[in-house]
């Protein structure tokens, strides 16, 4: 919210510096009851499953939040209700946005606080006095102001998301065009490499340096091809061609695309005969992205395990490594489009892999793991999937 908007809202609800003075003198009456108000406030949240769902940190987090709320209540009454106040309270609003708190809870929460404060004003101030009337008015005004600030953070978030989406759409179109145009030069490079290799074979030339650089160019060409494929797939949301497929087959085929340093050991642990119902091409693509990420996460050596099995009514495929793992602060963002933590990453791989899994009605998630990282693909089994589509 801009300072101008804030001033305008203040004027609209009729909040003045006088209101701040009234609230300040009300504060000593509220302070002794603050703890009880906050406890009641959180009891209401804990009693409601959807509201409780927004709080993921359990009792420890609630204890922290209660302390924060006490500070909030102090600041609400003491002010000063200036631009620093606006900024501090907008920050609280942004936390609500971040934890995806449904907006309706904000209204009910503010109303609960409103009721408590009005009750205190009713009981602690001389009945019918101008002081009581002024306090009740100021309480309602400051809470209306608070709601406006909170709602504005949700609006800001929506505007940001909309802009990001527009930007992505433009980037998407542009990059699909570029990716398309790159295919011809890459095709020429690839075919020239093919011809060079044939020629070297014919001439029976065997030279480590030639081989090394031939392989290096071939590898980089392949990287570019993968990148363009990712971009184009992303741009066009390819429909699925599902069929019953052996998981081991998908994994084996994927492994053919993977180039890993000698000291990185990839262990496959796929039950014989395990089948899934999905688009093998697209799943291979998703899986290859996960395995490549694991290879890149390892410092040139280490272990990767690809395992699979039944899980609830799904088939899961896990890719785990014993590398450094994903830092907690990045975990929420790694699946975001164009987000990358790698120097040469494009931020396409995981976003695309997740999209493939979701198109199957499944998921791609980062699972808790004692060491390294563990990514899990789940694909619903046909029976469960069929049931879902009937409903």
């Amino acid at each position: 919210m801009t300072p101008h908007q804030y001033a305008s809202i203040r004027a609209y609800v009729g909040f003045t510096d006088e209101s701040t003075e009234v609230l300040r003198s009300f504060h000593p009456l509220v302070a002794p009851k603050a703890r009880a108000i906050i406890d009641d406030f959180y009891a209401a949240i804990e009693a409601h499953p959807d509201a409780r769902a927004a709080i993921t940190g359990g009792a420890a987090q609630i204890a922290r939040l209660k302390t924060t709320l006490l500070g909030w209540l102090d600041s609400l009454l003491l002010g000063p209700h200036d631009l620093a106040y606006l900024e501090a309270h907008s920050r609280i609003g942004r936390v609500h946005v971040r934890i995806s708190l449904p907006q309706e809870f904000m209204f009910t929460a503010i109303n609960r606080i409103r009721k408590h404060l009005n009750d205190i004003a009713l009981r602690s101030l001389p009945l019918g006095s101008p002081e009581q009337a002024a306090t009740k008015t100021a309480v309602n005004q400051v809470l209306d102001l608070e709601l406006a600030i909170m709602l504005d953070t949700f609006r800001e978030d929506l505007v940001d998301k909309m802009r990001a989406r527009e930007r992505l759409a433009t980037i998407g179109e542009l990059s699909a065009t570029i990716a398309h145009e790159l295919r011809n030069p890459l095709g020429t490079l690839g075919s020239s490499l093919f011809l060079l290799r044939k020629r070297l074979e014919t001439l029976q030339v065997s030279d480590p340096l030639l081989d090394k650089h031939h392989a290096r160019i071939a590898h980089q060409v392949q990287e570019c091809v993968t990148m363009t494929t990712n971009l184009l797939d992303l741009a066009r949301e390819k429909p699925l061609t599902r069929r019953a497929t052996f998981v081991a087959e998908v994994v084996d085929e994927t492994m053919r695309q993977i180039i890993a340093p000698q000291d990185i050991h990839i262990h496959l642990n796929i039950p014989v005969g395990l089948q899934l119902y999905g688009d093998p091409d697209q799943l291979r693509h998703a899986l290859a992205n996960l395995i490549r990420n694991a290879v890149e996460a390892l410092p040139g050596k280490g272990n990767i395990e690809v395992s699979a099995g039944h899980l609830n009514e799904s088939i899961h495929i896990d890719v785990s490594d014993d590398g450094p793992g994903v830092p907690p602060e990045l975990q929420r963002r790694i699946f975001d489009l164009l987000f990358t933590s790698k120097a040469s990453g494009t931020g396409l791989g995981l976003a695309l892999a997740r999209r493939v899994c979701e198109a199957h009605g499944g998921t791609l998630s980062l699972e808790p793991s004692p060491v390294g990282a563990r990514f899990r693909i789940t694909i619903p089994e046909p029976a469960a999937d069929a049931q879902r589509s009937v409903v």
């Binding site: 990716a179 398309h180 145009e181 295919r183 011809n184 890459l186 095709g187 020429t188 490079l189 690839g190 075919s191 020239s192 093919f194 011809l195 044939k198 060409v221 091809v225 184009l232 066009r236 390819k238 429909p239």
Partner: protein
């Protein structure tokens, strides 16, 4: 029943360097190969020369690779056609099937796959009728 003259492949690709490379790869694989850079040139070429297989790009400067197949069939040329494309969406792949293309291969080309495909044409033809016999 002629002796085994090299099979002839017509390469239709507007990127000249790529066309040259593909042609060279076919020559290296024991095929006789010729290249042109447009669908129109391909049609003209097929009026005077006979090919066993055609490999055509999808996007060409004049008529597209698929239109080329349609035009060619209209003129009674039954040469099997393989479409290569930098990026074929599913609608294109479907349409390629409808106009009678053998397959659509993505660029960059997997030459082993391309050779396998060209050879499969050869096997089918040898199996179904004597080489060089006229189309029914």
């Amino acid at each position: 029943m002629g002796s085994r003259a090299p099979r002839r492949v017509l390469v239709v690709e507007d990127n000249e360097e790529l066309a040259e490379n593909i042609t060279e790869i076919f020559l290296g694989g024991g095929y006789d190969s010729r290249m042109v850079h447009s669908g129109e040139a391909a049609l003209q070429c097929m009026q005077t020369e006979r090919f066993d297989t055609m490999v055509t790009d999808l996007r060409l400067p004049g008529i597209s690779g698929l239109d080329l197949i349609v035009a060619m069939r209209a003129k009674g040329t039954r040469t099997p056609a393989i479409v290569i494309s930098a990026f074929a969406d599913d609608a294109t792949v479907k349409r390629a099937g409808v106009v009678g293309a053998l397959d659509v291969l993505p660029k960059p080309l997997d030459f082993d796959r391309l050779f396998a495909l060209v050879e499969s044409v050869e096997r089918v033809e040898l199996g179904s009728r004597a080489p060089g016999s006229s189309p029914p």
